[in-house]
Symmetry: C2
DNA sequence: TTATCTGCAAAATATTTGCAAAGCA
DNA sequence: TGCTTTGCAAATATTTTGCAGATAA
């Protein structure tokens, strides 16, 4: 019999010092932009490049969009962040965790909640690889609906 | 005990006459562009607006890109097609089926195989709605990896 | 005949590239 | 000092909008 799955809501992500240590280990420089972008991404919700730019400007930090796109490409390549795409087709970024995560996207307020579902799709992935000879490397699973707050508002 | 899941590979989609009847029922006109776009979408693989434009031009049919985008928005609104987004952030379109479908995206040859997985995520969706008060309306589940052909090439 | 559909030009939005200047170690 | 990072301008890609003219029923 299958165990019921475990849902973990991702709340706070990571100790900033841990990321800094990892960057130093990889021989990367520690710049203001890099530190500030990582601070913003240390959050349970993924952000797009332009959302990051906007959030930086809230803190009086003006960074060119090109720099942000390049910094995100850099962090992606260093395996420090993930890229996720939802139905709107915009690329969003979040800190990489040990466990693969999924998302609950509210169709009303557009808030995104990051969750970890344990023991999910294991059987299906095995079946797909066995029956269709498709070697699965990764998957994306996102749920769309109404968050607690919005579903109460709608009725 | 949970039954093993059933995988259905979507091969041919639908009788074109069925779509035409549905369009007539909805009071829509039958135009050359509409017919041709639906012919292209009658395929196990979703296509982007510009891929459709390209495929039309292969058949000597020249249609403005604006028309294609508008036609897709029209068919979407009439519930005849689905919009799907993969990791590249490009919107792709496919004929709507009774059953929700998922996709196997080959990271090497970029072929997309449409599949129907029965009895998948039912338990997880129930748990998410009960434990997190998130009312799920829809989900997207896509697998990325190597198709049979490409995984053989890689070794 | 008339509501629907289409093409063209231009705009909006997200992302990328080249090059020269600035800055961290 | 030298390599990495940054800003600016311009290019590219996808998608959207306004308007005038064409077309299916």
């Amino acid at each position: 019999m299958q165990l019921s799955c475990i849902i973990i809501i991702v709340m706070k992500i990571i100790n900033p010092l841990e990321v800094e240590r990892k960057l130093k280990l990889l021989g990367c420089r520690q710049t203001k932009t890099r530190t500030e972008i990582l601070k913003i991404l240390n959050c349970p919700q993924p952000f797009s490049a332009l959302e990051i730019k906007q959030r930086l400007s809230y803190c009086q930090i003006v960074v060119n969009k090109t720099t942000i796109y390049r910094e995100l490409a850099f962090l992606l390549q260093k395996n420090i962040i993930n890229e996720v795409v939802f139905k709107d087709g915009i690329k969003r970024y979040e800190l990489k965790l040990e466990k693969h995560s999924h998302h609950l996207v509210c169709l009303s307020c557009h808030q995104i909640k990051r969750v970890v579902l344990e023991n999910v799709l294991i059987k299906q992935e095995k079946q797909i690889s066995q029956q269709l000879n498709f070697k699965i490397i990764d998957h994306s699973l996102e749920f769309y609906g109404l968050c607690d707050c919005c579903s109460k508002k709608h009725f």
